[in-house]
């Protein structure tokens, strides 16, 4: 019953994103979509990874200044165009607009005038000061969100000593020292046409018109400065806090980046074998298929875990994050988690487990994100890391091609007996020392 095809699925062509590169190097991407708000955003291929230890947070601050400007406020009040900004390791959404379908010209106009006004905005000392205070408050608040914070620190310890380790949103100590001159310096290097991408998502945005508008943006020409190389170091970082009710832990290995398409996709499939565990937040937890979630559910070891494959352009991280109130079981959880990873290398993953992972990944990759800004971020991160955008058809085709053998080979290369990065926060007294956890990455028997 499950394998029979009842009707043709190839009748209509699948929608795919259009990509145009202008002569000055600026890229324009439009992706059709169904969300009730459309979105256009100006992205730079430089986030916190393009910063250094002395101007960490400058990319976030630049976005904040544009987002909080009176221009943005006016666009929101009189034209219904909401301007936000986002920041990642390798991208920053300088001005990301959301608007009701049919309002795209107002959004383009808002981006256009924000780009024009940028030099004036960052030259105003008072504006910079106000936004520094906000950015500091945001960075402090970010540190109080354990899940995000643990993943941030995981990246920081894994790539320590390189610019990839710098915090995505900066930190108070460096943010407070930033002045107009730092912003000017950062923008002169990064707000250049070959480093900029204009991305749209929604049902109503016309690609040709967007290309025309992009050509008019006041962005100076210039070449992109390549990222500083990143290197991985097996290490751990712990912030024990017994006043918190639970423990938050993330463990990861180094993998190739998103440019190594096959390895990256295999990593994503591997991440979906154990997948996400919602614990008591899902009614169906007791019925879940993954062997590891059955183990966790029957022992009550954890409330939540999730596996991830993060892909930067040249390097990646594959691993898991979990949190638990059963702090006395952190050691058991960690041990059996790593033992379940061993199964990938020994090839004892069943074909049903692999199939589940592949199908789940297809749905996840082909589904629209929860909101339009998240969708733009995901397009930006994926395009900027890989240099191309795959259509849904191509993705499904590549996922279909991943075999059991590929998975085992991937695991033996990147997972088995490899160094790990560990980050922990909360009541982590039962998170063992580095070497003891590292030993679980291999096994005494094969």
């Amino acid at each position: 019953m499950l394998s029979r095809r009842f009707f043709s699925t190839t009748a209509s062509k699948l929608a795919r994103a259009e990509v145009t590169k202008l002569s000055n190097g600026l890229t324009v991407i439009s992706k059709p979509g169904n969300s009730s708000l459309s979105s256009i955003g100006l992205y730079l291929n430089s986030g916190s990874r393009s910063e250094n230890a002395y101007n960490s947070g400058v990319s976030t601050l630049t976005g904040d200044i544009l987002k909080n400007s009176t221009l943005s406020r006016k666009a929101f009040e009189s034209a219904g165009v909401k301007v936000t900004s986002t920041n990642g390791k390798e991208y920053s959404g300088l001005a990301v607009t959301s608007f009701a379908p049919g309002n795209s010209s107002a959004a383009v106009a808002a981006i256009d005038s924000l780009v024009k006004e940028t030099p004036k905005l960052i030259a105003d000392e008072l504006t910079v000061k106000e936004n520094v205070a906000r950015a500091v408050a945001f960075a402090d608040k970010f540190e109080e969100t354990p899940k995000k914070m643990v993943l941030e620190h995981l990246t920081a310890t894994a790539f320590q000593g390189t610019s990839l380790a710098l915090p995505s949103y900066g930190k108070a100590e460096t943010l407070e020292t930033l002045q107009t001159i730092d912003l000017q310096d950062f923008l002169s290097k990064n707000l250049v046409s070959s480093n900029a991408t204009l991305i749209s998502y929604g049902s109503d945005v016309n690609h040709d018109e967007l290309v025309k508008a992009a050509a008019k943006l006041a962005i100076p020409t210039g070449a992109k400065i390549p990222f500083e190389a990143a290197s991985f170091l097996g290490s751990d970082v712990r912030l024990r806090d017994d006043t918190m009710p639970d423990a938050h832990v993330a463990i990861a290995v180094k993998t190739p980046g998103a440019k190594s398409e096959h390895d990256f996709l295999t990593g994503l499939v591997a991440a979906h074998i154990n997948g996400e565990y919602l614990g008591r937040d899902s009614l169906y937890t007791p019925f879940e298929g993954p062997k590891f979630s059955q183990l966790v559910a029957s022992h009550g070891w954890s409330n939540y875990y999730n596996h991830f494959q993060i892909g930067y352009s040249d390097i990646g991280l594959w691993g898991a994050y979990f949190n638990t109130e059963a702090i006395e079981y952190v050691d058991e959880f960690t041990h059996f988690l790593l033992k379940s990873w061993n199964r990938f290398s020994t090839g004892t993953i069943s074909s049903a487990e692999l199939e589940k992972a592949k199908q789940e990944l297809k749905v996840v990759l082909a589904s629209a994100k929860a909101d339009q800004v998240e969708e733009l971020d995901s397009i930006a991160a994926s395009y900027l890391a890989r240099g191309i955008l795959s259509s849904d058809e191509e993705l499904i085709h590549s996922i279909d091609a991943i075999s059991h053998k590929d998975l085992v080979k991937w695991a033996q290369n990147y997972l088995y007996d490899q160094d790990i990065a560990i980050a922990g926060n909360g009541q982590i007294e039962d998170l063992f020392d580095y070497n003891r956890i590292r030993n679980d990455m291999s096994m005494m028997r094969w």
Partner: protein
Amino acid sequence: MFTKSSVRSFSTSIPRALKVSTVPTVTSPVSSLKVLVKGAGSKDTPSGLSHLLASSAFLDTASKSALRLKRESELLGGSYKASVTRDALVLEATFLKEDLPFFVNAIGSTLTETSFKNHEFNELVLPFATYTGAKANSSPSFEALEELHAISFKRGLGQPLYYDGVKSYSAVDLSLFAESLYTSENVEIIGSNVVEEDLARFVKESPLSELPAAKNETTAEKPKQKTYTGVESRIRKPGQTVAVIGLPVASADVPTYKLVSAAVVSAIPDTYEATVKADVLSYEQSGLLYVSIASDDAAEVGSLLKKAAAALEKASGSSLTKYKPLASYIAGADGSSAKDLESAKTSVKIPKFNLVVVGDVDSVPLADEL
């Protein structure tokens, strides 16, 4: 929300009101189904019962166990969930396009042949519903909005959205209610990114075609929703402070009040600490305008609340046309269509509002001090 969709009713052996429709979308390999069971929302059933019903969805049925359903859909990569709104019980599934028949059947089975076993009720349904209810209510913003519904409507829409443990039910109660609520007149099926003829055919071949017609053919007029204004409620609670101004409005006035909510949003300056939200919730029999202000700093809530009240007073009777663009953004953000705004009036006289404060109530002014 789906007003533009082509709605199609079809008949199998007996005349039925089962509504099947699709939403025009950009094609993608992923489809989704949304099934609304009208009359099974939390306003229509004894309090908490519809949440328990939603928490019993996709469990054991006569033909398939919950375990088998979960494992089979995992193999297909699909997922399903059930939730409850004030107007309806909502069953949703997301899956790869070619798996449409499987998920039509899964939803159909849930509506027609759920077993409502005693042990499932005690071990899964009740703990899960109690947990989700308590978790939602631990958020002061949610609690304030619930209280606003309670004081603005009292009965019907004023009932709590989730099960709160005040009443006790058994698996038998659920099964009896399911029998009376899951009828072909109440069920509406909306497919997204599916071919409508395929959906209609699969529905016809699925257990959904066996949905019984409602027992009492006389479609009794539902009692009209009564509304109350000028009421105030303050709940002391440690943690974040939330103030909500609210006003029950007639369904026909919802578009006009969307403009009012835009007027309030534009009058309140951006602040980093506080979260300000204004919108109109639209229900079958009524709408509810609300302006919610939340912050860790109770004094800030107080001062923003004064600004919001002043903005409401200023908006009353004055021209609202200039707020249309902002209102269309607000409409898009809550998932409704900006087209509805076309029927908005240019001005409206705003009556006395309701006020709910949760948190540090001492630092927030009373309604008559605003």
